[in-house]
Symmetry: C2
Subunit: 200 residues, 2 copies
């Protein structure tokens, strides 16, 4: 099997959520694995001066109409969260802590966080909420709450955010196939085509 | 035939160019006509505080890679213009002047401007360049050069830009089907599906 594809996303991003429900299937058809890479877009935005789409005039209104429409199209559950955009610091740290010991469990955790936040509309900012969701994938909530405070876990996320910037990630989702970047949930068909053809 | 679909775009926008090569076909399959609506995104950006994608850090690099890749995928000629982004004031005014007397000629003119700018890489900011391209679709260049200075033509474009803002247009291309907005060249498949199904 060729190298895995990188799936960069922010838990606060609804388009990241929509892509998360399709990326494994797209990759599998291309005989690839997926490396899930949650990150904090806010860190990139500090460099680029960008603001979250949902806070932009006009664009924010469009997003609130487009995301539910997109979700209906692909049959994705969607409940607009009362708190949005969240700061996904705790969720990101927890992911990389889990990944260090079990990448598959970390992926299931990420899917559970996305489902709770965008599928069910729950506020996934607070570490208590993150720990509560983690229980569902077999993680001890007390251990998670302690782990996200460890300096090495904080450093790991910092390093990942730097890696994201070096890879040119400026939005969510952002998929990289053998160095080739694709931005946006609406580019999964191009990703699929790229995997199928080896590029064009 | 149901109401035409609105195709909003800025001549400076490469994604608008890519969409311009496909939108007529997509609409025709849905038994619709297309109302071409060139506008000045810069006017909207003054309200929203946005900056052109190609001038954004990271995003600009992505765009310069993504646009040629997208063009290859759909078989579109592409030559990166030395001058980009252009100010498309003269081209826009000329379009609405022409539209007032012959909408089909205006559409052919818009296609010719896009082809010269993004297909062949020519600077289409200056009115002389716009007039030169207009010759190819049967327009007298001296008449065009004079027409774009008429107060009623300037007012017409101003009104269109206000109409764009009222319609929620914040990017290019931006397609509106019976009040339903779709942003981006990568959404033409959703536009096609919407036309086919009447919405989902």
């Amino acid at each position: 099997m060729a190298a895995p594809i990188d799936f960069w996303f922010d838990f606060a991003s609804p388009y990241g959520y929509l892509a998360s429900l399709q990326v494994e299937q797209v990759a599998a058809r291309g005989n690839r694995a997926v490396r899930w890479r949650p990150m904090l877009l806010g860190v990139v935005f500090k460099t680029t001066g960008a603001v979250p789409l949902m806070r932009k005039p006009l664009h924010g209104d469009y997003l609130r109409r487009d995301v539910p429409r997109f979700a209906r199209l692909i049959g994705a559950p969607l409940t607009w969260p009362e708190v949005a955009p969240i700061g996904a610091l705790a969720a990101c740290r927890a992911f990389y802590w889990l990944e260090g010991r079990d990448p598959e469990q970390a992926k299931r955790f990420a899917q559970a966080v996305y489902h709770a936040h965008w599928g069910m509309g729950r506020d996934m900012g607070p570490v208590e909420a993150v720990a509560g969701v983690a229980v569902g994938v077999g993680v001890d909530p007390a251990e998670l709450t302690e782990a996200v405070q460890r300096p090495e876990v904080k450093d790991r996320l910092r390093a990942v955010n730097e890696e994201a910037q070096a890879a040119g990630v400026f939005g969510s989702p952002f998929i990289v196939v053998d160095g080739e970047p694709f931005w946006g949930a609406d580019r999964l068909d191009q990703v699929a085509r790229w995997l199928e053809t080896g590029g064009w």
